[in-house]
């Protein structure tokens, strides 16, 4: 494959990050009515069906989210290729980032698919079964946070420990590690019905999702986009490789 084609592919994949943002925010957030999500731990099955699944946009929103979810995995794969060693091999941090990104992307698609099923079946089956499925899926969505912590930790460590790279500044790496570690508060989500650690709580929803998005994902998207628009020589310099 010639160099210009490779670069075009790289740039296309880099723009998948912003496309994921637009698609997921619209489908999962707006149509799926997840700004914020319903606090199912404090609701009966009937309340969840009446107050949340009664909205006709949810099934469409969740199907859209299931489609856009895997774009996150594709973006993460590009990030892993940027983290390769000079000889092209992927070190452990690169593989960890790739694994975490793939699993996170899968989750971002898989869980909305289940919520779509809940939306389609609400009103036809026992509301308690809807609540059970909805809750079960949210616990998977939130409490498998380690897959994203792993990704953020890996890319953060690469950013901080790889002193030769100039693609991403060190502060962004430390931020990624710190935010990934703060996800641990999500373990409280299933056990509380109100307050900052509830599924719609100030910390476990707004702060965790907000910092993940603004202080990690947006930041890395910007630096990845800057990187892919550099010339091949500038990319080698930015990555700290020896200039030929």
């Amino acid at each position: 494959m010639d160099e210009s084609t490779k670069r075009a592919i790289e740039r296309g994949l880099a723009w998948i990050g912003p496309i994921w943002v637009l698609g997921y925010f619209y489908f999962w957030g707006y149509l799926g009515r997840n700004f914020p999500p319903p606090n199912m731990m404090a609701m009966t099955g009937q309340e969840l069906v009446d107050q949340y699944y009664s909205h006709s946009s949810i099934a469409v929103g969740m199907m859209g989210a299931a489609s856009f979810g895997m774009l996150y995995a594709i973006w993460s794969l590009l990030l892993a290729t940027i983290m390769r060693d000079e000889n092209g091999s992927m070190g452990p941090l690169s593989v960890l980032e790739l694994g975490g990104g793939l699993l996170t992307g899968w989750l971002l698609a898989f869980c909305p698919a289940i919520w779509c099923a809940c939306a389609l079946l609400a009103g036809q089956i026992d509301p308690d079964i809807i609540k059970m499925t909805h809750t079960f899926t949210w616990i998977i969505f939130d409490c498998t946070y380690w897959i994203t912590t792993m990704q953020m930790g890996a890319v953060g460590l690469w950013t901080v420990l790889n002193k030769r790279q100039q693609v991403v500044p060190a502060w962004a790496g430390w931020t990624a590690i710190a935010i990934g570690a703060s996800f641990i508060a999500l373990v409280f989500m299933p056990f509380v019905t109100e307050g900052p650690f509830a599924v719609d709580g100030l910390f476990n929803y707004w702060i965790i999702f907000g910092t993940w998005f603004f202080a990690y994902f947006i930041v890395y998207n910007i630096y990845v986009l800057k990187h892919v628009y550099r010339s091949p020589e500038e990319q080698r310099i930015a990555l700290g490789y020896a200039v030929a």
Binding site: V160, K163, R164, A170, W171, W174, T175, A178, I179, A181, S182, I184, A185, V187, F188, F191, V192, E194, G195, P196, F197, L202, F203, I207, T211
Partner: protein, 198 residues
């Protein structure tokens, strides 16, 4: 251009440590600030729960932990001075004391957590205890990490004292340990003391 240590980190010409540790401490401080602000917000929302729950804590145990941690911090500071003098034996001695006192904190915390869990108190009990376990738990992990760094510096002291890179290493460790200390100086009154007067 700033001189670089062999790891490629800019060595600060004025002041201890390297850019990396200061950046890390700043970011970490912001994360804890986030925890504290959410804690205060929740305390404002359900003050009765916070008042009642705080009486289940044992401030004197936490005070002992505070004294241990502060003294440990002083020991690390002395080890940095000893490193600058090139006195490896003193470095090892001060770092050993520091580890011992850090161990007192760790044991105190484990005993405290065990007592709470045995009494049926868990992070799911109420929002105060969610914060208690979360904030002190993450701080506890920082203490453990700090002790690993201190142990590493102690293990390398006899061979590396006198080298510029070792000085930076122990300064970075000291900065991290002091940060852990300062965090506890906020956590202790916030969680253990503020409601006792009510």
């Amino acid at each position: 251009m700033a001189e670089l240590n062999p790891a490629g980190d800019p060595i600060l010409e004025k002041g201890p440590g390297t850019n990396g540790i200061w950046t890390f401490v700043f970011i970490d401080m912001l994360v804890f600030l986030m925890f504290f602000l959410v804690y205060l917000s929740e305390r404002h929302r359900v003050p009765d729960i916070f008042i009642e729950s705080q009486h289940h804590l044992t401030p004197w145990v936490a005070l002992l932990s505070t004294v241990a941690l502060l003294t440990s911090s002083w020991c690390v500071a002395e080890s940095v001075h000893a490193t600058r003098r090139g006195d490896a034996r003193a470095v090892i001695r001060w770092l050993s004391f520091s580890l011992l006192l850090g161990g007192v904190f760790v044991i105190n915390k484990i005993v405290e957590y065990s007592g709470k869990i045995s009494a049926g108190i868990s992070p799911a009990t109420n929002s105060f205890f969610s914060f208690y376990f979360l904030i002190t738990g993450i701080h506890f992990l920082h203490v453990c990490a700090g002790m690993i760094f201190i142990a590493h510096c102690r293990a390398r002291a006899s061979q590396e004292t006198g080298q510029g890179l070792y000085l930076k290493k122990i300064e970075n460790t000291g900065l991290f340990w002091h940060f852990v200390d300062i965090l506890w100086l906020f956590i202790f009154p916030l969680l253990y003391l503020t409601e006792l007067a009510r």
